[in-house]
Subunit: 332 residues, 2 copies
């Protein structure tokens, strides 16, 4: 009724995953059914990534592992939290080889060291259906900033609207990987790296706690996530399209497009940016500047919160650019 | 580059999942990127279930939802913890319909009420690959008993070995569903229910905290999980096959088998029992009896811990029954 004896599953956990617990207190080195988190307040987030949806099935597995951690770390960053550890769920394709799992675990190890987190537990299993893709889940937890957790709902009318880093790179990187757009080798490498390996803005996230009034990470697209922030805060957000920060590569791409406004709207709709979109009162401009300097993270003021609802994108003549604000929708 | 505007994903979260947050403090009604857990010590566990692996693809989705919660609740039960809430990850098949998701959410609602837990966050997406099965992940958290969390590693030489409930039912239920075994209608209904809807032993789990020396839940099979407990505690476990508690249905099945010992070993290897296997010093026999009475949960003493390692199954003449102790292995 059960398959023949093999210690494959337990061996994989013992040899590849247990060392990732780093003997963290309460992880029991992954030898127990549950972990025990020490007394504290915890910020917790859970994001899934699926082969063929959030990453390409030929993507190197160490990068996939790092992307899994980083999309979740990005959520903690936008909440101003300091990451502590994570729980991992892996459903491997039927034909997975142990060395592929080892490469995945090696990717986890790299980012665990970089972001100082440890694996506290999880579950690993395998699809029986041929062709079912690698499906990954991570639940990350961290401690909130002493000033409290940043939420989506704190923006007030009159607040400035900011975004970190640059917008649209990951979408262009995906287009390059899918051969829908062509770039110079240098730009292609930069853009595909932005797609494959987002850079969670943890340092500035922590620095913004107590200064920003609302924040979230840009994963569905700048416009779509602005819609979320506006809705939860009960404000309208006005965004100057020309102030949206672009990388050199995205700027070059934009210069070549026939319809500049539509292309700016496209860059603001791609998703996978993993930057922080946030608001702060005008009285906080110096504090935001300081947070940017201390964290060595670019911040651009791109608009403001006004009375009303929804998000409006304005061109250089203050005319409204028509946009689709739904962002990426897995059920569309 | 992105698909056309639709609010499907956000609608599903808002209408079907947000109400499951029950406005729990820190859940933000699922409107934020992360949840904020109040100050406390937390026991955390994460189990995946996958269509075609842990449940049958034709299983009713409300029962699948409840099984997802229950396999995780069982882990908390075995640790003596009181469940508080969970994070949910769903990857739906490509062709999923919204009413199927609604049925799934209805199943969650039933067990949330039964076990007094709330949904604190998560992620939902959809496979692009046709034929890729429903893949579910839940991270459950609870508060440890004031006596501390039960672990796998606390058993000592001389301790008694116990198990709750009955063993082997779920495996026979799966065999019935897969038409590998036939039963009377009454027995079939009982056994398949045991497979589809495990009963997490939360009440006795809490009652055992401070009395049991080690515990874990039986998910891989009684023998395989006994191997885990023995290994983590550094003891050998001797189990009397004839003392393994069986339901009436399993007893009837056993009586019809040609090789009684091999069939007892099979029942002890099926998995999916979600009972608690635990040890306690002989001085705790009255306390264990009391815990059983107070929680109205059957407990059977089935063996003891001795010096050495591994697990030995003895027949009624105290001869060793040859067994495969690997249990269910997803990588076999």
């Amino acid at each position: 009724m059960r398959r023949p004896l093999s210690n494959g599953e337990f061996d994989i956990i013992k040899t590849l995953f247990a060392p990732l617990s780093k003997e963290a207190n309460g992880s029991f080195n992954l030898t127990d059914d549950a972990a025990l988190l020490a007394t504290g307040e915890y910020v917790v987030t859970k994001d899934l990534i699926v082969g063929g949806v959030h990453f390409l099935e030929k993507d190197p597995l160490d990068l996939v592992a790092r992307k899994l951690l980083r999309v979740n770390l990005s959520d903690l960053a936008a909440k101003g939290a300091r990451p502590v550890g994570y729980f991992l769920g892996c459903v491997w394709p039927k034909a997975i080889k142990q060395d592929a799992i080892a490469r995945f675990a090696a990717g986890l190890a790299v980012d665990q060291d970089l972001f100082r987190i440890a694996l506290f537990g999880g579950d690993t299993t395998r699809h029986r259906a041929a062709g079912a893709p690698l499906t990954l889940s991570a639940t990350l937890f961290g401690t909130p900033h002493r000033q409290g957790m940043l939420t989506r709902s704190g923006a007030s009318v009159g607040d400035d609207l900011y975004v970190t880093g640059t917008i649209g790179d990951a979408g262009l990187g995906l287009a390059a990987l899918e051969k829908r757009e062509t770039f110079s080798k240098l730009d292609r490498d930069y853009l595909t790296a932005r797609y494959r390996l987002p850079d969670p803005r943890l340092v500035i996230g922590g620095a913004l706690a107590g200064h920003a009034s609302a924040a979230l990470d840009v994963s569905d697209g700048l416009l779509a996530d602005a819609v979320h922030l506006a809705a939860e805060s009960g404000v309208s957000l006005i965004i100057d399209a020309e102030r949206i920060p672009l990388s050199e590569a995205a700027g070059l791409w934009l210069a070549k497009q026939a319809d500049r406004n539509a292309s700016l709207a496209a860059l603001a709709s791609f998703g996978d940016d993993y930057e922080i979109l946030f608001t702060a009162p005008a009285s906080m401009r110096r504090a935001v500047d300081m947070a940017s300097k201390v964290s060595k993270t670019r911040v651009r003021r791109i608009g403001q919160a006004t009375k009303g609802e929804g998000v409006t994108l304005l061109d250089m003549d203050r005319n409204v650019i028509e946009t689709e604000q739904g962002g990426y929708d897995h059920f569309a």
